[in-house]
């Protein structure tokens, strides 16, 4: 205790304390930089990914989508080349989605890119360019991507989702359709047949119940 008090009384104590604090503050940015998972990549891959992310940002595309793709690759311990390929592919899909849908929100572009990645054709996104105010197509796109992933033929999934969308189906309708179809598929039904069967039951497809867009 006496030593501690003597240190406190020592004139150089505040100077030492300041020096230590300064050193810690100086070390913080370096520590933060080291914690970036992308530093685990080889320099070439990392530079390419940063270039792609910057390019997306400059074009007004959701750059976080590309960074997320890279981070997932790092988490799964995928080699740098595959990660760069994946980020490049996603960048290309974002540009295609943007060229098709126009200046929509970043989240919708990400969802549209997921649909394209699942196997949809860019032209199939075109009907979603015309949209009603305050309506987003996130749920429609997510359900669409899932259906294609589960084996529903791309044309059938596109046709069903587009028709529902044009009929003004709500998010709940899309989610309800997904629940029913995936349940049928789990029971062993053919994915395409499951969608065709369930789409006939959705309210928006029944005669006389068509929702008029505002």
């Amino acid at each position: 205790m006496s030593q501690f008090l003597s240190v406190l009384r020592h004139r150089r104590f505040p100077v030492s304390l300041a020096a230590v604090a300064f050193a810690l503050l100086g070390a913080l940015p370096a520590a933060a930089q080291d914690s970036d998972p992308l530093t685990k990549l080889d320099p070439n891959s990392r530079n390419t990914i940063e270039l792609l992310v910057d390019s997306a940002s400059t074009l007004g595309l959701p750059a976080d989508y590309l960074r997320s793709t890279a981070l997932q690759g790092v988490a799964l311990k995928v080699d740098g080349k595959r990660i760069v390929d994946a980020v490049r592919k996603k960048f290309s899909l974002l540009k295609t989605a943007y060229a098709t849908l126009g200046p929509v929100g970043g989240e919708e572009l990400k969802a549209a890119a997921s649909v394209l990645y699942a196997g949809a054709k860019p032209a199939q996104l075109t009907p979603f360019k015309a949209r009603q105010k305050d309506r987003n197509d996130l749920d429609a796109f997510v359900v669409w991507a899932d259906l294609v992933t589960r084996g529903v033929p791309s044309e059938e999934a596109s046709s069903a989702i587009t028709k529902l969308w044009q009929d003004g189906a709500s998010d709940a309708t899309f989610n309800g359709l997904w629940n029913s179809v995936q349940s049928d598929i789990l029971k062993g039904l053919n994915p395409g047949a499951a969608l065709q069967s369930r789409i006939r039951e959705t309210p928006e497809r029944q005669p006389g119940n068509k929702v008029t867009p505002p």
Binding site: P37, S68, L71, G73, V78, R82, A86, D139, F141
Partner: protein, 430 residues
Amino acid sequence: MNEPKVAILTFAAALLVPLPRVLAAQVVSTIEAGQYTVSDGVLPVSAMRVAPSIEYALPHATFSAHGSAFVSDQNLQLADGIVSGTFTSPTVYGVRAEMIGNASRAVDDRSLGTDQVDVQTRVHVLFHQHGGVWLGGGVARPWRVAVASSANVTDAGAWTKIGDALARFGTATFTTTFTNFSFTKIAAVDDASSPDLSCAVAATPSANVAMRAMFSVAAEPGAACERQSRFSDLEGTMHWEVGTIELTASTGYRFGDSYDVTPDSKRWSTGTATVWLNDRIAIVGGGGRQPALPLRGLPARSFGMAGLELAYWPMNHGGVPVSLPRAPLVKTFEMHTLPTGMQKIIIHVGGVETVDVMGDFSDWSPLTLVRRGRDLWELSVPLSAGMHQIDVRVDGGPWMAPPGTPTAHDSYGGDVGLIVVAPDKATPQQ
């Protein structure tokens, strides 16, 4: 058509029937066909062999059946068959109990078939799914082997798994097992072929026990005694999975005196390789030497095999079917918006030690859920409005899309769950 042929063909046909996916997530079936060569046994030197297997896995129980048959004289002959059931307790603080039951039949030729039922209990201590040790004990009851009694079996083992399924060098699992067999065996009082095989020095001669030959022992009826036998097997196994290739190699050493351990069963090594051409078809090949099974009266043998394996796996697409996905263990996955705007992830899964999620919201860093009940796991995370990707894993297993969420393929050969958070349910931005 003889009885084994009907049984094998029925079993093989059943494997080809498509199962509903809700079951497929828990069923693995394979059928292997190829050339099988064996020496030192009574089986044909080289024969066409068919080996079907099926496994049905539940969260706390696994049932499996394996068998093999060979074509001899244009007839299908049963070589062996085994039906197994394993019951596993939930893991509590890394400790898990296991009960294993097997019923098996081995046919060495058309006249000699032996059956065995064995039951064993094990206690496992797991170290975060990267390794573990176990201690077990049980009893094996052979039938139609007159020279051996029931055997007490005790075993201990350790295993460790290194690597990552997606890494360049894949995963390697090393297992070491020490098994001790203790049983009473009937032996000849005087064995002309080898004094070691006689029980002249045995302590408990029995009166007028009917004698049957085992291995090369020759004796007169009535000239027999009971002798306590004991031997131990130390075996090391390495299983390596990398890309589309699986390699398994094992080697072992048998401890015991010369009465219980024949010279040809002192040491053994086997190796098999499987190369998956796609997720349903693989080329398999292997060979080596198997030790004798004294409890069943089966001699040591060398073998070699090469053939094709057809598999029906619970895989959605691509990938190498090297292990059962663990995500089917997850019963439910839910997300609820808290008053604070945070999203609470609720997962029901029992009998596991850890549950992790990761996604774009965590910059793909694993977040461990907190156990709130016997099978209830929870975690609150901030989620902005929009689409999010999420994966879940249990007990450090493979990352998979959680059940009950729309799913899409990711860029790296796996799947991710897709979640949409509405603006009115999103976590307020800081």
